[in-house]
Assembly symmetry: none
Homo-oligomer: 225 residues x 4
Amino acid sequence: MTEIAHRYQGTAVPDLTFPPREGGYPKGHETREEILRAALRILIEEGYRAMSMRRIAAQCGMKLGNLTYHFPNREDLVQALLDAVITSYEIEFANIFHDPSTTPEQRLELYCELVLEDIRSKKTTRLFPELWALSNHDTFVFERVHDLYRRARAPLEDVIAEMRPDLAEPARHDIALFISASMEGLTVFAGYAKPFESRMQSLEAVAARAFLDVVRNFVAPADSA
Amino acid sequence: MTEIAHRYQGTAVPDLTFPPREGGYPKGHETREEILRAALRILIEEGYRAMSMRRIAAQCGMKLGNLTYHFPNREDLVQALLDAVITSYEIEFANIFHDPSTTPEQRLELYCELVLEDIRSKKTTRLFPELWALSNHDTFVFERVHDLYRRARAPLEDVIAEMRPDLAEPARHDIALFISASMEGLTVFAGYAKPFESRMQSLEAVAARAFLDVVRNFVAPADSA
Amino acid sequence: MTEIAHRYQGTAVPDLTFPPREGGYPKGHETREEILRAALRILIEEGYRAMSMRRIAAQCGMKLGNLTYHFPNREDLVQALLDAVITSYEIEFANIFHDPSTTPEQRLELYCELVLEDIRSKKTTRLFPELWALSNHDTFVFERVHDLYRRARAPLEDVIAEMRPDLAEPARHDIALFISASMEGLTVFAGYAKPFESRMQSLEAVAARAFLDVVRNFVAPADSA
Amino acid sequence: MTEIAHRYQGTAVPDLTFPPREGGYPKGHETREEILRAALRILIEEGYRAMSMRRIAAQCGMKLGNLTYHFPNREDLVQALLDAVITSYEIEFANIFHDPSTTPEQRLELYCELVLEDIRSKKTTRLFPELWALSNHDTFVFERVHDLYRRARAPLEDVIAEMRPDLAEPARHDIALFISASMEGLTVFAGYAKPFESRMQSLEAVAARAFLDVVRNFVAPADSA
DNA sequence: AATGAATGAGCGTTCATTCAT
DNA sequence: TATGAATGAACGCTCATTCAT
């Protein structure tokens, strides 16, 4: 396959959160972190198919045997990696809304701004499509990804509840879901190295307008369950 | 990896459009079609990683040697497959707007309805995340996918132009892009076997409201390039 | 493990009978024969544990990939090998009694002579203990081995029936079984390179005496089922 | 490989006799015993090939590191195991003939009875074929096994000497050897879970008859050395 | 057009072993 | 005494590919 040039080759790829092993030494935890980092790097730069045990071991200058010592099989490693990377997103999200803006409208706009900014990062642009593809065939990824999204929608639902206390819970949920999905969709079009990456600024304005309007104007249909 | 149960196991997976080989016999074309169909079936049911030459050959009860006769190497096959599947989507799209409804608002709504209906199909839900993931690392897929989306946005841009002749072309383009991306984003949340598949109906109402409003109300910022 | 010196290192190890593959070329059959021969050689010279796919491939100057082409997995190869080797023993046995000696006593003695002669061969001494060990954990080997022994006992039972028409079938069967088992047991003590290999001649006399006597003198107990 | 069902799954597998380590603590001896027991359990249940260091460690809920602390390498462990298990058989045998029956005929019969009873145990049926197979390729096992058999034949030779003082030593030895080998051979046919396990009772009668007759009637050939 | 045969590289995994803690 | 960490080699197997038939 023809490879897409990597613009920021030497990306640091940080942000991995995973629990230490019971009874394990600090050295071992560091090694496991190095392994997961290398795996993430390959996943981002070359895709899931290229993320083999051997390549990961080679990436972090480690023998294959040691890699399987820390992660007895590939599934363990992949799950640990995806869990760690998703957990780090959850932590990031949890930190976002500790600074309360004034009006709910401002908070909605800020939320979208932060999400769309994240989407433009190489890491997110590359990682999430892989997660979406994997979630189609792997229940663990499926559940972990949608767990993340559920948490990510919570502040959105709060904002909508403030702006539209008249709406029933399902309707609020639908709107939050739509807003969240809508932004995720932009990953493929205006994410890192995507055709409309440069339009992200103006797309943000379009999105903000659409989201504000739909929250304000949405009228639940009679039979909306 | 833990497999997600396939609800409509025996899916037919049709819709593959690809050119006959120059100087090739009809039999050969049929065989190539069978191969691509088998490949697509694996891609949809088990993901890109499982789509090996051997498994494709096995899927269509064919010996490996014959498969490599028709597609000398894997890249040829993958490109032919993705090209064929994307082409079939383009043809489907081209057929959509031959029946012109009355108002542009109705046409916008119909457009969204058709797209969101397609998204709920197993084929589309499974296929597109794979394409998005591949497009991050493969220029051919990248270009082919965005070519498809460009064509898909064309009728959308026409509708927007009718509704908002006052807007400049970049703004219209941004709005069309947003609407398209927005709906694509719903694939992951309300597509086939997704957590909110059952909410697609009401999500469609939310989306329609948001899209109509943004087309009607969008005001280009002063510095929008 | 300390290795026992191989006295007749360059043993030919012939006698493998297995069916040609349907639609396969003669070349392929030859290759499969070469593979099985190499496997048998290793099994005999170094034991079951040493009989790995890689070592077999190396033994017959073949690439591992080609070996797995002909035998998709180890179990297939092992079964094919044991089946072939056991089949060849069955054929050998079937040929033994086509020359009818005069008295049943002479035939019994000839039978024992032939079996004990075979036991002294390197192939049989080495192979059968492996089969016995394997048959403890592998149903295929278990059934195949006891199928062979059942066929091997048939002429024995005929002889006994001739000598002792008064005996009931179960008693005849027990005697045949005892005689057969008795000789097999000598493998470990007086087989190839065994401590009493040189005593085989005189052991044969002891065995012949014991077998003749038991056939002649055995009196079925009252409650013998 | 297809596994043979284990009828008496939770076998205790006792009977391991091995010397304590010089300067070792009692705790260490217990651990080593636990290790050898686990090894023996695997050997019996799954065969020699499955008896790896890792599996042994896992079997006795121990970390690999600790196992290699007690047995620095595999050969040490295997030798210790086989030595211990053979030693325990030797001790068992030594205890048998402390109760002297009256006539040598009765003693011969009792001897056979005890041996054939032991053969029917899962442990013996499973273990000895492994020993026979190993003894073909490993001098230590070879010598240790035949040492055991030599001791086992001693009481047999005494009985024969009593019954046939006229016979020369080689002839007596041959007869004892034949009787011993004969019974060992029954392991494969009428041992634990073997096709004729249920016939062991009547086979014992056949064997007793044959053995008594051969001891009584055997006439050494003129050239018997 | 299709199958059989063979290669060479790579896959995930298990192995026995060594050494630091 | 026991566990954690790491190595290097080998395991059975699958891969894409090439070529003869």
